[in-house]
Amino acid sequence: MTTRPNPHLDIDNYDADADLMALNMGPQHPSTHGVMRIKLFLDGEVIIKAVPYPGYLHRGVEKLCEKLTFVQIFPIVDKHDYVAPMTNEQAMAVAFERTLGIEVPRRARYLRTILAELTRISSHLLWLGTFTLDIGGTIGGGASMMMYTFRERELILDCFEMLTGSRFHYNTHCVGGNRHEIPDGWVAVVKSIVATMKLRVPEYEQLCTGNEIFNMRSQGVGVISRDLALELGLSGPNLRASGVDHDLRRDQPFHAYDEVDVQVAVAQGGDCFARYQVRIAEFYESIRIVESLIDNIPEGPLSSQRPVKSTLAVKVKTGCHYHGIETPRGELGTYIIGGGDNKSASPYRLKIVPPSLHAMSALPYALVGHTVSDVVAILGSLDPIMGEVDR
């Protein structure tokens, strides 16, 4: 095992001769992807210790969930990962369904898979835009890239609006299936989006990897080794960029992923460039999955349950349950402790296990030894969403 930076380095006894400077990055900083603070201890311009301070977006959702019933929880969870709200709902729905042993109709599972993959594309688009914004400047090449990615993200949001009536906070999943029936012409819209994306992703690659400065800025920066990534509990693209071949879509299938052959994208570098490579490969993979499913959506009901009339309709049995699905950011799990007797309609304790918090915990390790310029590159490449970190 290689030597790891000590995240709890004792600054007071570090080196009496060194010129140390403490630099607060955030909470009012344009590149912290939300509101967070990293306290950097600099020796010259080299970081020797980094302490993340999340919590500026803490809304006490877990406390709130204890007061709400399972049906009422769905609209809230949209707001955690505000970049990919669709998969938040799905994580909650899958957790409840698996806990209760409820079967989801095949049509709903196909629809959920397509929605999850479109969400992955839109989330990665936003990631690509903001990552290039971080290393390219808000008035510069990065801004151009962001405009291009938002152009395509808009298409996907429009398509979600066509299905659910809202662009961001959908509330379209419920226990046992989906709420909104597929409208006429929606399939054609999805196909056109996929066709557009197929043309555009190579353009993004040209703009990024075709530019030597991008490679210089991202290669060898913020390396997270395989062991460290596992220990930190990284998941999703961040874990796969460190060389771990692990994707819940293939390893513990949910939705209709058992009917699809998921090719897991893995990169070995563990640096910012590897994380970029994995996400670009996932664009192509998501496009492929949507293409293979969109023509074969089976007929049938969208939900196995009757429409919910009462907020007390879903009751979870006693005991602890953990279920996770793969979201664009990694494994989004839900840890539920059921109510005291089998009748309670609200959880005794519900913990949302956010992949972004794990990504945050990589910062004290990945930042050390780099300069202030690399902080934004590393933070951007890890793709933490503060709404999800803080909840």
């Binding site: 311009e45 990065g142 400065i213 300069t371 202030v372 310029s373």
Partner: protein, 344 residues
């Protein structure tokens, strides 16, 4: 009357006043142009409401900036803090004084440069010296703001400015060695008579031009060399603490610096206001000059809106590993070529 016409004070006023007005306007219009240009590149519109094509947006921005409260941080060094925004504007305008904007063939077949505030014998030295001074306002603003981000930005700015000074001077030495004069008007006259430096000295001239262009990008803090500004890392660099017109002065100086850098590259390497076969009247000179420097100007923005930013250490490495030795070699090659030509 004729005495008045050669009086340097009168000349300075007669040329300098319009020049300052024109450059200030160019600096303002450049912001409008850049925003429109970037808008087209990025699939959006850009400013389009104020005036025809949004061209008065500059005016609206200026009025907005004037209305802003003037805030000086409590623990700032007030004198330096207030002095810093004025200096870059002054330095840029002063360095524009020696650029000849037009020229004509006189009766003896000599190229006479004209329309410049001061025809200094050491014009190029003057310009480069002022460019070297540009690190002072950056450092003053960075230090006086009493802010860690501006301090880091100031440090980076000085390191970058001082480092890129060397390849800039060396690349500017290529025309000096080739033409044998330090006067900008002399360099333009030589180019008009012997051909532009970009191709008069094949490869070497072109390389020196590229080197000069990139180094002046770095001097003007343009992407990919805008380390001292670095919005995404250092928020906005040295101008973080400046409000209203003071911040605006920095931005305006930056735009004018870009314009002057383009004009200087045109003067040194692209023949100034001379256009082969089309320079039969002095009134045509400014047109060719504006066209050439405008093309470079657009190129700068094109680069800016499509490239990413270097990291500070990569930038220094690029300078000291590639640019400095490269520029030294270029100067030597030019000298060799000049020597060979005198032998022939």
């Amino acid at each position: 009357m004729s005495e008045l016409l050669v009086n340097p004070w009168f000349l300075g006023f007669a040329y300098g006043f319009p020049l300052i007005t024109v450059l200030m306007t160019v600096g303002g219009l450049a912001t409008w142009f850049e925003r429109r240009f970037a808008g087209r590149m990025q699939n959006r519109v850009g400013p389009s409401f104020v005036g025809p094509f949004g061209i008065l947006q500059v005016l609206a921005d200026g009025i907005k900036m004037m209305q802003k409260e003037d805030i000086v941080p409590r623990d700032a060094d007030k004198f330096l803090f207030n002095l810093a925004p004025i200096l870059p504007v002054f330095l840029v305008l002063a360095s524009a004084a020696t650029i000849p904007f037009t020229g004509y063939w006189d009766d003896t077949g000599q190229w006479q440069s004209w329309l410049m505030v001061a025809d200094l014998d050491i014009g190029i030295l003057w310009v480069l010296a002022l460019a070297g001074l540009m690190v002072f306002p950056i450092w003053m603003a960075g230090w006086a703001s009493n802010n860690k981000y501006t301090l880091l930005a100031g440090m980076r700015g000085v390191a970058q400015g001082v480092s890129y000074e060397i390849p800039l001077v060396m690349a500017a030495l290529v025309p000096v060695v080739a033409t044998g004069t330090l006067s900008l008007s002399g360099i333009v006259a030589w180019q008009a008579e012997n051909g532009w430096l970009v191709w008069r000295f094949p490869i070497v001239g072109a390389l020196a031009f590229i080197l000069f262009f990139l180094s002046s990008l770095a001097e003007a803090n343009r992407i990919p060399f805008d380390i001292p500004e670095a919005e995404s890392e250092l928020i906005g660099g040295v101008i973080v603490e400046y409000t209203g017109l003071k911040g605006g002065m920095f931005l305006m100086a930056e735009y004018m610096h870009t314009a002057v850098a383009a004009a200087l590259a045109v003067t040194l390497f692209l023949g100034g206001s001379h256009m082969p076969g089309l320079s039969f009247h002095w009134a045509l000179g400014p047109i060719w000059f504006v066209l050439k420097s405008g093309a470079l100007f657009v190129l700068i923005y094109w680069i800016r809106w499509s490239w990413f930013r270097f990291r500070a250490d990569q930038l220094m490495e690029l300078c000291w590993v590639l640019f400095v030795p490269g520029s030294l070699i270029l100067v030597m090659l030019t000298a060799v070529q000049v020597w060979v030509e005198t032998l022939l």
